[in-house]
Symmetry: C2
Subunit: 337 residues, 2 copies
DNA sequence: ATGAAAGCGCTAACAT
DNA sequence: ATGTTAGCGCTTTCAT
């Protein structure tokens, strides 16, 4: 009908007074599983509705030391991580949790800022490709704050992590390339020291060597389209031009398709095969249509929340989860014989 | 040396005891502009450092009713909004503010969730293309919570907004197309009811009619690459095929370039000009290289923070800010004679 | 300039 | 099952 009767702030005391009960009764009415009679609860709820009362989560968190807030830090919110953040945000909302976001510096250790986030009594910390110190991780554990890393950038012991299947996916890709009859496979790395890139390279080489092939041609493209263009030019202008290139992500693969087709006049998918990783948006666009292995965002987010629940039950119950993706074969790779 | 001596929680009382002063003194030492002697401040700081003390922002916000938290809601975190979110996050961090993120449903009015965010005593609310009710906006105003909309999806009276220069940018584009000598300009809309799309169409038509041209060909592409492909096909298979297409964003423009070149064998930038809007990442990729008008993310974010400061001073001091972008001419448009 | 005391809004023993 | 009493950690009058 008319506008809601929210006063500036209506407190549990107001509700208690109106309902003619104690403040604790009000508290219990809003605490799931508290011992309160249905009659009492109804009475309180009636009064609360009339006043538009909702418990103040800030005040609540001061006593419970839980806030329903999850701290999330990401080094990068572009491309790959935007959908992840979006999914994470949706899922957390579904669970009645809030998301306190922090943009970390990809290079630096983020301890100081994480410290600040911690002071908000967050119920957990989720970090996506963010650097942190061992000391900080220990502090979280001592403080009882569950910590989950998504796509960790360094090897993190004694911390729960969720990762895509870098090694497994790359093996599938290596096998595909071998089966397609290629003989001079190349690899385009992201960064040399990025575990993601390393694992993808290792899986690839593993599969190739199983097929009696070796990968002797290699460039670094820093995971970006622009640098991928450069790296592709270097690869394709070699005298021993590779006939297959596996790029550590889709941005670089799309760049490589572009260079191969437009600058070198190559028939991508016949003369040369080009493969990416992650199944980023543009990999499916007709101009690229690049074969890839999915980074399974939604399952990864779900598993992350599972890990949190698990850690809330038993904070020492850590585990490393690898989430399998899916090989998506498109026209950038030569059809199997 | 060895690990930091953080106890579970060290409180102002601990510091006061160690420094041999009162709890209030500790509070003042951490309150900018409080009346405290340099000597006292030094003493407190020494003790605080020793204990690794930092004021608990949750407790603080309970009394001050300010939290240093900014609520941010976005309907979409892809493409365009990922960089915006990233920039926003960086700037807020620089200002010592935290970002509480919420993913809104683009269709539904987000009042209920926004209500939840409000209960965290947020110091302001920033909404990017999110629907909200008038009642909620009024509630924010009464509650003294500044509200700023970025790219509002409906006409919002009495609310501060920050927008890119849709109309102005589109005029520049219309003028460019006219000057290039095109005679059958078309428009590809996003959604018919999106103000962004409407303004871009209006500015375009305005400039065309100034040049004695009219735009009689029009399709809708829903702002996406995929739907843009379809819309482009419809446009280009008409008997009166347009010789210039302005698409309401870059995703659709890239799709149109792709279709024109690959499916219709057109020489993009000679036979036909194609223009986008927003300067999304892929618009600069060599395969597209599409002329566009920037959505000036960084200035928009800066202006948003300015508006917040302004509203913190005087909550009734609302304003509508339009941030000009820049025309970026690339090879997808015919060179001027 | 400093300290003592009251209270922000809530939950958590402890009673009954 | 309900009410009473203490705090959670901090800021803020109000004294001095």
């Amino acid at each position: 009908m008319d506008e809601p009767p929210f006063s500036e702030t209506t407190t549990a005391d107001d509700v208690a007074r109106l309902a003619g009960v104690s403040k604790s009764a009000v508290s219990r009415a809003f605490t799931p599983g508290a011992s309160i009679s249905p009659k009492m609860r109804a009475k309180v709820e009636a009064a609360a509705n009339e006043l538009g009362y909702r418990p103040n989560p800030i005040a609540r968190s001061l006593t419970t030391r839980r806030s329903a807030i999850i701290g999330v830090a990401m080094a990068n919110m572009d491309q790959l991580y935007a959908p992840l953040l979006q999914r994470l945000s949706e899922r957390l909302t579904e669970e009645g949790l809030r998301l306190l976001l922090f943009k970390a510096n990809p290079q630096r250790i983020a301890d100081a800022e994480l410290q600040t986030i911690l002071s908000y009594n967050v119920d957990a910390l989720i970090l996506a490709s963010v650097r942190l110190s061992d000391a900080f991780a220990q502090q979280c554990e001592r403080g009882g704050v569950p910590l989950v890393l998504i796509n960790p950038v360094e090897n993190a012991n004694h911390i729960s992590t969720v990762t895509g299947d870098d090694h497994g996916g790359a093996r599938r890709i290596g096998t595909l390339i071998a089966k397609a009859g290629h003989v001079r496979p190349a690899f385009m790395a992201g960064y040399d020291d990025a575990p993601t890139s390393q694992l993808r390279e290792a899986g690839y080489r593993h599969a190739l060597s199983e097929a009696g092939l070796s990968c002797d041609i290699r460039e670094v493209g820093h995971f970006t389209f622009e640098q991928g263009l450069e790296a592709a030019r270097r690869l394709l202008s070699r005298p021993d031009r590779p006939d297959a290139i596996f790029c550590a992500n889709d941005s670089m693969a799309c760049a490589t398709v572009d260079v191969a087709r437009r600058e070198f006049g190559l028939d991508v998918g016949r003369e040369i095969s080009i493969v990416g990783f992650d199944n980023e948006t543009m990999s499916s666009w007709p101009g690229f249509d690049v074969t890839t292995y999915t980074l399974p965002i939604t399952p990864m987010v779900n598993r992350t929340l599972d890990l949190l629940q698990q850690l809330w039950r038993d904070r020492s119950d850590q585990s490393k989860v690898t989430v399998p993706g899916e090989l998506i074969v498109r026209s950038s790779t030569r059809p199997l014989p």
